[in-house]
């Protein structure tokens, strides 16, 4: 149990506190927990931040104190080179914030260390999902359905056209392309935090035990995953090896390096990309992707809507993504919902 000192200054509040849920306010720069003057995933530096997971648009640097899982704090330290103000909160642990607000961190199944945050105050329960998915992922703890009054959900893939196929199918396509082109390599663009490690772990699960070659920008994050007990098998750095050695192998790079000069050092690369956006042909074409792999760390449409049904909140608040469609779905299913206009979140999983 982690407790914040009562010495923290109480915020000045200019609106009545008696209305239901007035203690939780969506503001353009994040979700404000008013009695505690804490912010969830704020997009600018604040005194006290609760951070759901390590992706840059959720985990900004420079906060006075940051309450997050140990994994997320380690990821933030890797990125910002400091762990000043880090306050670890483990999965299942509840902390008490000023103003008598209780916060519990619950696995979100998105990336290593990702958490939903359950906030409780005056008998009211609010869950903030951050980013999440419902599919099994060997690199992180699975999402847990948590009943609540207000469910604050993401909507990155909030359109009915988004269906992520079983990851086994995508791995099979990747390995088939690799074995039919033994003189090439398959270059897979994958987000450096989460996606890359999941693709590697899934390849291992599919029986691929060859060395996997990494772009330099991937190395540290993979090591971090391994330090937290995620096994990734033999990994090598592209920069340490010759073109010849990489023929017939898989190379993983950040999406930004796919069409970059960097890829010229690879032997006849076939360009692949692991992203939920690959469901749409034009998105693949925009990036000159030859082998689109539909793999996402976010919930697809069926998961988003099923989760709302399972959590069964009084009201859903939709943070970022394609909020209009999810809002419409809620309306069609007689569920109360509103879209929040938060700034600073990007379509990750790019």
């Amino acid at each position: 149990m982690e407790q914040l000192g009562n010495s923290a200054p109480l915020p000045t509040i200019s609106y009545p506190m008696s209305a239901p849920f007035s203690w939780i306010r969506p503001e353009p720069h994040g979700i404000h927990i008013v009695p505690s003057d804490c912010w969830v995933d704020p997009s600018r530096a604040v005194e006290r931040a609760l951070v759901t997971h390590g992706h840059a648009d959720h985990a900004r640097g420079g906060h006075g104190s940051t309450m997050a899982t140990p994994e997320t704090l380690a990821i933030m330290k890797l990125r910002y080179n400091t762990d000043q103000g880090a306050q670890p909160v483990h999965y299942g642990e509840t902390i008490t914030l000023p103003g008598n607000v209780r916060a519990t961190y619950i696995p979100a199944g998105h990336v290593l260390g990702s958490a939903q945050i359950l906030l409780e105050h005056a008998g009211e329960r609010v869950v903030i999902t951050g980013d999440y998915k419902r599919r099994p992922d060997p690199t992180c703890a699975p999402f847990e359905v948590t009943p609540c009054d207000i469910f604050i959900t993401e909507a990155t893939f909030g359109l009915p056209l988004f269906t992520h196929p079983p990851i086994e199918e995508e791995m099979a396509r990747l390995l088939a392309r690799l074995s039919s082109h033994p003189d090439s390599c398959v270059l897979v663009g994958a987000y450096a935090l989460g996606k890359a490690q999941r693709v590697i772990a899934e390849l291992r699960r599919a029986g691929h035990h060859q060395p996997i070659y990494l772009h330099g920008a991937m190395e540290k994050m993979c090591r971090l995953y391994e330090d937290f007990g995620v096994e990734l098998g033999p990994l090598r750095l592209v920069s340490d090896h010759s073109k010849e050695e990489m023929r017939g192998h898989i190379v993983i790079s950040p999406p930004s390096a796919l069409n970059d000069r960097w890829s010229r050092r690879l032997p006849d690369p076939i360009t692949a990309m692991a992203s939920g956006w690959m469901r749409v042909r034009q998105r693949a074409r925009q990036r000159n992707v030859e082998l689109p792999l539909i793999i996402s760390d976010h919930a697809d449409w069926a998961e988003l809507t099923r989760t709302i049904e399972e959590v069964n909140p009084q009201e859903s608040w939709i943070t970022h993504g394609r909020e209009e469609a999810l809002l419409r779905w809620c309306q069609l299913h007689q569920r109360r919902a509103r879209a929040l206009a938060l700034v600073g979140y990007e379509d990750e999983d790019d």
């Binding site: 359109l159 749409v280 042909r281 034009q282 000159n288 992707v289 209009e324 469609a325 779905w329």
Partner: protein, 531 residues
């Protein structure tokens, strides 16, 4: 159908021209008749099925998916066929076997407005996502997957080792599934007989003259008139007028069809009679005048008398049964000049040769083209044969420099095709007075091009972050960004509130440094009108 669907997917996911040619070639060699002919038609000219339109697909979908969810999805994907293929509910139970391409075509041809509501869903239920995509693309006749008709013909020619010029020649005389074409190319039979048909011949095109110069002893200069390039063909007692893309526009300009009664294939600029381009002697009205006649199926007597068309001749590809295309330009020109008196003078004249002492003098003349409202100059090698397409070193177009004006971004809309899901179509405006004294912005134009991919990404993000209003697919921005817009000319127009319409506007530069109140006023733009 699976093989065709796989071909489409493979074509979508490759950007290499050679790979595309190889993929199409392989398909054409390995697929039996008439499947391959239908597929080739779908890839090139497109097929037309009376009962199936884009609206048919939309209607089928909105019966199965909430209309708002459909339109949000369609807006995101930017392609009706693809959206429908993704949203179509998989049928319960075992899927019946997928149809072949020929079977699909036969079924589509058999559908009527009354039966399509039932028959098309039954067909969609026999296919997976890729198959549905291929089916809808085939059925609605608009592939838009980055395969030009030309590429399809080149692939055909390469695949069977025949000349692409021959393919182009025979192509327009026969209909899908092109069985005679395959018999000739794949089985060595006699080529289709096209002698007495008023067929379209592919145009010879010009490269832009970037920075170089040419030697005027080798090249001749002509004005680049501002109309539309056309080919007028008379053969077998019939006359046809074709646009640059080979579309038959004879019905839109009946006076031109009547004017040619001698077998010939003529290349020229279609214009409306007037005194705008090149002054009184120029004899041609502005492009605006011509535009009022384009795209009409029925032409009124009034139109014919108020906006009479004529063709300013550039070249002759054939005269009285003789093919002139292999001759040097100078010989063809002589033949054309000798032929001209046999044509009605109200409907034809000859594109003038621009005389210049040397290249520097020619550059001076080009400077003056703006005052004459002419687009620029054409430079043609005196010994060039008439060859299809753009051949380096033979013909150049040398347009005058564009006009520039600073405008403010007002609205943005998602693009289509490769740019779908990006806000890539921009409406911009100029001030109707002094912006510091409460003047307003009025839209003056729309641009879809001129920016790099990196700039597009930046603009897309900018639009999302500066949206103040949404109207369906359109976002209104907070009018905080200045564009330097390049355009060829500006004309008076009743269609726009500003009373002005630009030709070929494109984003020249994004002026992040320039505050919007310093953008130009309507009056500045109006002063550039040369109507």
């Amino acid at each position: 159908m699976e093989r065709f669907a796989a071909l489409l997917d493979a074509l979508v996911y490759t950007s290499s021209r050679n790979t595309k040619l190889a993929l199409i070639g392989e398909y054409l060699r390995e697929t039996p008749d008439p499947d391959r002919g239908w597929a080739l038609a779908a890839l090139t000219d497109g097929l037309d099925f009376k009962a199936v339109k884009a609206s048919t697909i939309r209607n089928l979908m909105t019966e199965r998916v909430d209309p708002l969810l459909w339109s949000l999805s369609r807006d995101f994907v930017g392609d009706t066929a693809e959206t429908a293929s993704l949203l179509w509910p998989d049928p319960p139970g075992e899927t019946p076997p997928a149809p072949t391409v020929s079977e699909t075509v036969a079924l589509l041809q058999g559908m009527t407005r009354a039966t399509v509501q039932h028959d098309l869903p039954a067909l969609l239920d026999r296919l997976d996502v890729s198959g549905r995509y291929a089916l809808i693309k085939l059925a609605t006749g608009a592939m838009r997957i980055g395969i030009s008709a030309r590429l399809g013909k080149v692939a055909f020619a390469q695949s069977f080792g025949v000349s692409v010029d021959d393919v182009e020649e025979y192509w327009h005389g026969i209909a899908p599934p092109y069985t005679e074409l395959f018999d000739w190319a794949a089985h060595g039979k006699a080529p289709p007989d096209t002698e007495n048909m008023p067929l379209f011949r592919p145009f010879m095109l010009a490269h832009p003259l970037e920075d170089g110069t040419v030697d005027l002893s080798d090249y001749v200069a002509e004005w680049k008139w501002d109309g539309i390039r056309v080919q007028l063909v008379h053969a077998g007692g019939e006359t046809r007028l074709y646009s640059r893309s080979g579309d038959d526009i004879t019905a839109t300009f009946p006076e031109m069809a009547e004017a040619l009664t001698i077998p010939a294939v003529l290349d020229g600029e279609l214009l409306v009679q007037g005194g705008h381009q090149g002054g009184k002697e120029g004899g041609a009205a502005s492009f605006n005048a011509l535009q009022q006649r384009l795209g009409r199926k029925n032409v009124s007597k009034k139109m014919l008398s108020e906006l009479p068309a004529f063709v300013r001749l550039y070249d002759a590809l054939g005269l009285e049964g003789e093919d002139l295309r292999a001759l040097p330009w100078e010989r063809r020109r002589e033949r054309l000049e000798a032929f001209l008196p046999r044509l009605p003078a109200t409907r034809f004249d000859l594109s003038q040769i621009v005389e210049a002492r040397d290249f520097a003098h020619l550059a001076q003349i080009r400077e003056g083209t703006r005052a004459d409202a002419i687009e620029g100059l054409m430079l043609k090698r005196r010994d060039s044969p008439y060859v299809a397409g753009r051949k380096t070193g033979l013909w150049y177009k040398w347009k005058r420099d564009p006009l520039l004006i600073d405008c403010v971004l007002m609205y943005a809309q998602r693009g289509s095709g490769k740019r779908s899901s990006f806000y890539s179509d921009y409406t911009f405006g100029c001030w109707d007075g002094d912006p510091d004294k409460g003047a307003e912005l009025l839209p003056v134009g729309k641009a879809y091009s001129g920016f790099t991919d990196a700039e597009l990404k930046w603009l897309d993000k900018y639009v999302r972050q500066h949206t103040v209003n949404r109207f369906g697919p359109v976002r209104e921005t907070d009018k905080s960004l200045t564009f330097e817009v390049a355009f060829d000319s500006v004309h008076a127009s009743k269609r726009h509130k500003s009373g002005l319409a630009m030709r070929f506007p494109r984003i020249h530069r994004i002026r992040k440094d320039k505050p919007p109140h310093e953008a130009d006023r309507i009056a500045t733009l109006r002063a550039m009108v040369r109507d």
